[in-house]
C-alpha cells in the first residue's frame, strides 16, 4: 500500500524512464526514429499531465523522506517537463538535417529528464546526488552527439572532465555534511546542524557542485564551449530543463536544509556569486559575435538574476526564482529554436551574427518570433522575461539587498545591447547574398508560435507570486 503511494508520488519520473526504455528498444527493433519520437512526446506529455495534477494536490514526502511531492517539487517537475517537451518537438527536424536523428537521442533525453525530475523533488542528499549524476551522464553523451565534428568531441570531453571534477566536490561536501550531522535527509540535517567548520565546509562544497551545474561564475567556464559544441536544440534542453532542475534542487536545499540564517553566511556567498555571474556573463556576452555563444553567455547572466532571487532568501525570492525558471524556459527554448532553424538551413557556421543580416525579412514569422524572444530575454515589458526579473529584483529589495538589485538592473540594462544587436542585424542590415530559407515544418513552427504566444501572454497576465505560486511555497512549508 505504502509502496504504491510512494510510486505514485514519483509517477512523472517513472513514466519518463519507461518511455526512455521504450524509445531505445523501439529503435533497436523497429529501426524507426519516428516511433521513438512519438513515444517520447507521448511519455513527456502524460508525465506532464500527472505533474500538473500533483501541482494541485497536497504536498508531502515519500520513500521514507527521500523525495518530496506536490508544492515546489511539482512546480519544478512541470517546468522541467515543459522544457523537455518543447526541446523535443523542435529537435526532430533539426536533428534530421544534422543526420543525428535516431532513437538513442530521445532515450538519452528521457533518461536525463528522469534525473532532472528526481533532482527537482529531492529531499535527501543521496537522492540529489544520484539524480544529478543521472542527469549529467546523459547530458555528457548528448553533448558529444556531433562526434565527427572536432567541436562536438571537444565539448563532450570538457563537459565530462569538468563535470566529474565538480561532482567530486559535491560528493565530498555531502560526506562532510554527513560527518557533521550524521544525516543525509535535508530536514534531519537542518535539525542537527551546528555552524561547525566541518558543516560549513560541507555546505560550501555542496554549493560548488550546484553552482557548477547552473553555470554560475566562476564555475561557468565549461558553458560556452559545451553550449556551442552541442546541437542547438539539445543546448536548449541543457539551458532550460537542466538548469531549472538544478535551481529547484537549490531552492529545496536552501529552504529545507538551511532554513535558519544563523548557520553559516550562505546568503553572502549567493550574493557574491550572483554579482560575479551577472557582471561577467553580461560583459562577455557583449563581446560575442556568434549568436549561439552569445546565448550561452546570456544564459550565464540569467543564472545570475536567478541567484539574486535565491540570495534574497525570502518567500518572494523563492517564488520569483520559480516563476523566472518558467519564464526562462519558455523564452529561451524559443530563442534557441529560431536559431536552430536558421542554422539548419546553412550549416553550423551560420550562427555568426554577420550571417543574420537582413534575415528578418526572409521568413517574417521567424524574424518576428526571434524578436519577441530576445525582447523577453532582455526583460522588456510586456514580455514574460520582464515579469520574471521584476519579481526576483523586487524580492531582493524586500530583503534589503538594494545594492544587489541595483547591480542586477544595471547588468540587465547592459544586456539589452547584445540582444538588440541581433535585431539590428535582422532588420537594419542588407543581406550579403541572395538565398532562400527552407519552410519550417508544421510541428516546429507551431511549437515556436506557441512559445511566442506564451511569452507575450504571461507578460500581460502574469501569475502573481502573491497568489497561486506563493500558496505553493507556503503549502510546501507546512509539510
Amino acid at each position: 500500500m505504502n509502496y504504491l503511494l510512494d510510486l505514485q508520488s514519483f509517477l512523472p519520473g517513472i513514466i519518463v524512464a519507461v518511455a526512455g526504455l521504450a524509445a531505445i528498444m523501439l529503435e533497436a527493433f523497429k529501426k524507426s526514429a519516428n516511433t521513438s519520437f512519438s513515444v517520447t512526446i507521448g511519455g513527456i506529455a502524460v508525465a506532464l499531465l500527472f505533474a500538473i495534477q500533483s501541482l494541485y494536490g497536497e504536498a508531502g514526502t515519500a520513500f521514507s523522506g527521500m523525495i518530496v511531492y506536490g508544492g515546489v517539487g511539482a512546480f519544478g517537475s512541470v517546468v522541467v517537463l515543459l522544457g523537455a517537451l518543447f526541446c523535443v518537438t523542435i529537435s526532430r527536424e533539426y536533428l534530421r538535417d544534422l543526420d543525428l536523428h535516431n532513437g538513442e537521442v530521445y532515450g538519452m533525453i528521457l533518461f536525463s529528464t528522469t534525473g532532472m525530475l528526481g533532482l527537482a523533488v529531492s529531499n535527501d542528499l543521496i537522492t540529489l546526488f544520484i539524480s544529478l549524476e543521472t542527469m549529467s551522464i546523459c547530458l555528457y553523451v548528448l553533448a558529444g552527439l556531433m562526434k565527427n565534428e572536432k567541436i562536438g568531441a571537444e565539448s563532450a570531453l570538457k563537459y565530462f572532465l569538468l563535470g566529474a571534477f565538480s561532482t567530486g566536490f559535491l560528493l565530498y561536501g555531502i560526506a562532510l555534511i554527513y560527518g557533521a550531522t550524521a544525516a543525509t535527509n535535508l530536514t534531519e540535517i537542518a535539525a542537527a546542524a551546528q555552524p561547525t567548520f566541518l558543516f560549513l565546509c560541507g555546505t560550501g562544497l555542496l554549493f560548488v557542485g550546484l553552482f557548477f551545474k547552473v553555470a554560475a561564475v566562476p564555475f561557468h567556464m565549461w558553458t560556452p564551449d559545451v553550449y556551442q559544441g552541442t546541437p542547438t536544440t539539445i543546448t536548449a534542453f541543457m539551458a532550460t530543463a537542466a538548469k531549472s532542475a538544478t535551481f529547484v534542487a537549490f531552492v529545496l536545499v536552501l529552504t529545507r536544509m538551511l532554513p535558519s540564517s544563523e548557520i553559516g553566511d550562505w546568503q553572502s556567498v549567493l550574493q557574491v556569486v550572483a554579482i560575479l555571474t551577472m557582471i561577467v556573463g553580461n560583459l562577455i556576452a557583449l563581446a560575442q559575435d556568434n549568436v549561439k555563444r552569445m546565448l550561452a553567455y546570456s544564459s550565464i547572466a540569467h543564472a545570475g538574476y536567478l541567484m539574486v532571487g535565491l540570495a534574497a532568501g525570502n518567500e518572494a525570492g523563492y517564488a520569483g526564482v520559480l516563476y523566472y525558471l518558467f519564464a526562462y524556459t519558455i523564452m529561451n527554448a524559443g530563442a534557441f529554436g529560431v536559431i536552430a532553424y536558421y542554422e539548419r538551413n546553412h550549416g553550423l557556421d551560420f550562427t555568426e551574427i554577420d550571417s543574420y543580416a537582413g534575415l528578418g525579412f526572409k521568413v517574417p514569422v521567424m524574424g518576428v518570433m526571434l524578436s519577441v524572444f530576445l525582447f523577453s530575454l532582455a526583460g522588456i515589458p510586456p514580455m514574460v522575461g520582464f515579469i520574471g526579473k521584476y519579481y526576483v529584483f523586487a524580492a531582493a529589495v524586500q530583503a534589503g539587498l538594494i545594492p544587489l538589485a541595483i547591480i542586477g538592473v544595471l547588468a540587465s540594462a547592459a544586456s539589452v545591447y547584445y540582444y538588440l544587436r541581433v535585431m539590428v542585424y535582422l532588420y537594419f542590415k542588407e543581406a550579403h547574398k541572395e538565398y532562400s530559407l527552407k519552410t519550417p515544418g508544421f510541428l516546429f513552427k507551431w511549437t515556436l508560435i506557441l512559445l511566442a504566444v506564451l511569452t507575450v501572454y504571461y507578460g500581460v497576465e502574469p501569475v502573481l507570486p502573491t497568489s497561486s505560486l506563493m500558496e505553493l511555497i507556503s503549502s510546501y512549508y507546512t509539510v
Partner: protein
C-alpha cells in the same frame, strides 16, 4: 446588482477583438482587405454589442446603486503598489460608456459609406476600434493608472487617425502637433498622479476620494492645477488648444468621434470624477472657470472668421469645451457632463453633416477630372458652396437641427445644457464660495452664446442656402451642380439618428425650477438625480424668478443672434457681410482671423528658442560630453568583455583551475 464582470469584459474586450481581427488579417492578407463589407460589419458589431451591454448595465442600475466593480486581473504588484486591470461601473462611467459606444456605433456606421473608396479601409476600422477600446478603458477604469493608460491610448489613436493619410506632409505634421501638445498636458497629469500616490499610497478612485483629508490645502491646489493642465491638453483649452483645429486633417468621422464627441471630453470626465477634490480649492475652481470662459470666447471669435466648414466646427468644439470647463469651474459638474452628452449628439451630427458635404464636393471634383477638366478647388471651403439644401435634403435638415440645438434654441438639446451652465456661473457670483469674478464670466458666457448662434447660422446659411457658387468662382466648373448628390443610406441613417438625439437629448436635464413654478416637486432634472452621488455639485441658490429671468434672457440673446445671422447670411451675402464685419471691427477682426497669432507666438517664444538652444548648446553638449561619456563606458565595457574572453582559453585544465579558485572563494566567504 450582481457582478458586472462578464458584461464589462465584453464591453472592453470586443473593441479590442475587432481591432485585432481587422488589424492582423488586414496586415497579413491582401485578399481580406478587399472584403470591405465583412470588415465594416465586424468593426460595427465590435462597438454596437458593447453598447447593448452598457445599456443592459444601465437598465439594472438606478441613481442610488453603489458602484459595481469588475476586477479582471492584476498585472503586477509589489508591496502596497499594484497595477489592477479593474473597472468601475457607476452612474458617471455608465453615462460616458453609453455616449462612447452609442455615438461611436453611429459613427462607425457612417464610416462604412464615408470610407468606402479608401484603400486603408481595414486600417481605418482597426484604428477606430482601438480608439473605442482605449476610450472605454479611460472612462471605466477604477484607478488613475488604468485611466492614464486609456488616456495615452486615445492620444495614440488620435495621432494615428489625424495622420491617417500620412503621405500628405501637412496631415502628418498635424498629427505630430496634436501628439506633442498632448504630451505637455500628459506630463502635468503624470506628476499629479505621482503626488496623489505619494500622499495616499493608492491610485484607486474610491480610496482617493474617501481619504481626501490626507491632503493639505497646498497639495489640493497643486494636484488640481496639474490635473487641469493635463485636461487642457486633452480637451483643447487655453493654452494648449491649438492642436485641435489642425486635427481636422483626419477623416471626418474621426473629427466627429474623437475630436468632438468623445476623446476631447475626457478632461471634463476626469475633473468630474475628481470633483470632490476640486471643490475643496476655490482657487483652482476659479482658474478652471476662467480658462473655460476665455477659451469659449476666443474660439468663438475665431470661428466667425473661418471659411473652412470643418474649421468652423473645430473652433466651435473648442468653444463648447470651454463652456464645459466653465461649468466645472462653477461647480456645475452635472451640467458639464450634461453638455458633454448633448454636445456629443449635435456636434457629431454637425461633423458628419460636414463630412457628407465634403464627400459630395469631392465627388464633384472627381467627376470634373473624369470629364478631363483640370480644375482644383478646396472641397471644404464654404465660399464654394451655397444652395446645397436642394441637392442634399437629409444632410441639410439634420445639419439645421443640430445648428438649432447648438445655438441654444429651446427645446432642443443644447439649450438646456448651456442654460444650466450659464445659470450656475451667475449663481457663483453670490454666496460664500466665490466672488464677483463669476459675474464677469457669466457675461463672457452670454456673449459667447450669442456668437455661437451667429457663427453656426452663418455656416449653415452660407453652405446650404442661396445658390451654388462654385460655377461662378472657378472656370471650367460650369454645370457641376448636376454632380451634387445626397450621401448613401448608411451615412444619412447616422445623421438622422444623431439629429433625433439632438432634439430629445436635452430632456434628461430639464431645469428643476420650471417644475417648481408649476407646482411640481422640483425633481425633473433626471441627470441631476442620476449623478448626485458622484458629482460634488455646488447647489443653485437663485430664486425662481431670477432663474426664469436668466433663462428668458438667454433665449432672447440666442433668438436675436439667429435673426441677425439670417439677415446677414440668409441670402447669398456672405462676402459683403464678412467684409462689413471686418470693417466694423477692424483690428479685432484681424486678430480673430489670425487666430490670435497663438501658433506664431508659440513658434517664436517656445519652439524657436528651444530649437536654437538644442542646436547650439545641447547638441554640442550631447555630442561632446554625453556621447563622449557613453562611448567611454561602452568602450571600457567592450574592452573588459574582450579581456575577460582571454580567460576563456579553451584549455580544460585552466577551467579546472578556475573551479578551484571558486571553491576557495566560497569557502573563504563561508568560514571568515
Amino acid at each position: 446588482m450582481e457582478s458586472p464582470t462578464a458584461l464589462v469584459s465584453l464591453i472592453i474586450g470586443l473593441p479590442l477583438l475587432g481591432f485585432l481581427i481587422n488589424g492582423i488579417l488586414g496586415l497579413s492578407s491582401t485578399a481580406y482587405r478587399s472584403k470591405k463589407t465583412l470588415i465594416g460589419i465586424l468593426a460595427n458589431l465590435a462597438v454596437f454589442i458593447p453598447f447593448l451591454c452598457a445599456l443592459t448595465l444601465f437598465l439594472n442600475f438606478d441613481s442610488e446603486s453603489a458602484a459595481a466593480f469588475a476586477h479582471l486581473f492584476t498585472w503586477m504588484e509589489t508591496g502596497s503598489f499594484s497595477v489592477d486591470i479593474a473597472y468601475q461601473v457607476d452612474q458617471l462611467s455608465l453615462i460616458m460608456t453609453l455616449v462612447v459606444t452609442g455615438v461611436g456605433s453611429l459613427i462607425h456606421l457612417y464610416s462604412i459609406g464615408y470610407m468606402a473608396h479608401d484603400e486603408g479601409f481595414w486600417k481605418f476600422f482597426a484604428y477606430l476600434n482601438l480608439f473605442i477600446f482605449a476610450m472605454l478603458n479611460l472612462v471605466l477604469a477604477d484607478n488613475l493608472l488604468l485611466l492614464f493608460l486609456g488616456w495615452e491610448g486615445v492620444g495614440l489613436c488620435s495621432y494615428l487617425l489625424i495622420g491617417f493619410w500620412y503621405t500628405d506632409m501637412s496631415k502628418s505634421d498635424a498629427a505630430k502637433k496634436a501628439f506633442l501638445y498632448n504630451r505637455v498636458g500628459d506630463f502635468a497629469f503624470l506628476i499629479a498622479i505621482f503626488m496623489i500616490f505619494e500622499t495616499i499610497g493608492s491610485l484607486n478612485f474610491e480610496v482617493i476620494l474617501t481619504s481626501l483629508e490626507a491632503f493639505s490645502g497646498n497639495d489640493i491646489f497643486w494636484i488640481g492645477l496639474l490635473i487641469l493642465i493635463g485636461a487642457t491638453g486633452k480637451s483643447a483649452q487655453i493654452p494648449l488648444f491649438v492642436w485641435l483645429p489642425d486635427a481636422m486633417a483626419g477623416p471626418t468621422p474621426v473629427s466627429a468621434l474623437i475630436h468632438a464627441a468623445t476623446m476631447v471630453t475626457s478632461g471634463i470626465y476626469l475633473i468630474t470624477r475628481m470633483s470632490p477634490m476640486f471643490v475643496m480649492s476655490p482657487e483652482v475652481m476659479m482658474i478652471v472657470a476662467v480658462i473655460g470662459a476665455l477659451t469659449a470666447i476666443v474660439a468663438a471669435t475665431i470661428a466667425i472668421t473661418q471659411y473652412d466648414i470643418k474649421g468652423v466646427l473645430a473652433y466651435s468644439t473648442v468653444s463648447q469645451l470651454g463652456f464645459m470647463f466653465l461649468a466645472l469651474g462653477s461647480g456645475a459638474f452635472t451640467a458639464a457632463i450634461f453638455h458633454v452628452v448633448t454636445h456629443a449628439f449635435f456636434k457629431a451630427c454637425l461633423f458628419l453633416g460636414s463630412g457628407s458635404v465634403i464627400h459630395t464636393m469631392e465627388h464633384v471634383e472627381h467627376k470634373l477630372h473624369d470629364k478631363g477638366k483640370d480644375v482644383h478647388f478646396d472641397p471644404q471651403d464654404i465660399r464654394n458652396m451655397g444652395g446645397l439644401r436642394k441637392y442634399m435634403p437629409s444632410t441639410y435638415k439634420t445639419f439645421l437641427i443640430a445648428t438649432i440645438a447648438i445655438a441654444g434654441i429651446p427645446p432642443l438639446a443644447g439649450f438646456f445644457s448651456k442654460d444650466e451652465i450659464v445659470m450656475h456661473a451667475f449663481n457663483m457670483g453670490f454666496g460664500e464660495y466665490a466672488g464677483a469674478m463669476y459675474f464677469i464670466l457669466w457675461g463672457v458666457a452670454t456673449i459667447t452664446a450669442f456668437l455661437t448662434a451667429f457663427y453656426m447660422f452663418r455656416l449653415t446659411f452660407t453652405t446650404f442656402h442661396g445658390s451654388f457658387k462654385l460655377p461662378k468662382l472657378i472656370n471650367g466648373t460650369e454645370g457641376s451642380e448636376e454632380y451634387l448628390h445626397e450621401s448613401p443610406a448608411t451615412m444619412t441613417t447616422a445623421l438622422w439618428s444623431l439629429a433625433g438625439l439632438s432634439i430629445v437629448g436635452g430632456f434628461i436635464g430639464l431645469p428643476n425650477f420650471v417644475s417648481k413654478t408649476f407646482g411640481g416637486d422640483g425633481h425633473i432634472n433626471w441627470l441631476h438625480e442620476w449623478l448626485h452621488t458622484i458629482a460634488a455639485d455646488i447647489p443653485l441658490t437663485l430664486s425662481g424668478t431670477a432663474e426664469w429671468a436668466l433663462m428668458t434672457f438667454a433665449i432672447i440673446v440666442a433668438a436675436v443672434s439667429v435673426y441677425i445671422a439670417y439677415k446677414m447670411y440668409g441670402n447669398d451675402q456672405q462676402e459683403e457681410s464678412d467684409a462689413w464685419i471686418a470693417s466694423k471691427f477692424g483690428p479685432f477682426y484681424r486678430v480673430w482671423k489670425d487666430k490670435y497669432s497663438l501658433d506664431e507666438l508659440y513658434e517664436g517664444a517656445i519652439v524657436h528658442p528651444t530649437v536654437n538652444f538644442s542646436d547650439k548648446v545641447l547638441a554640442v553638449f550631447d555630442m561632446k560630453i554625453v556621447d563622449g561619456f557613453v562611448n567611454a563606458i561602452a568602450g571600457t565595457v567592450r574592452i573588459s568583455g574582450s579581456l575577460l574572453r582571454y580567460i576563456q582559453t579553451g584549455v580544460a585544465s585552466n577551467y579546472a583551475l578556475f573551479l578551484i579558485l571558486g571553491v576557495i572563494l566560497v569557502l573563504t566567504i563561508l568560514l571568515f
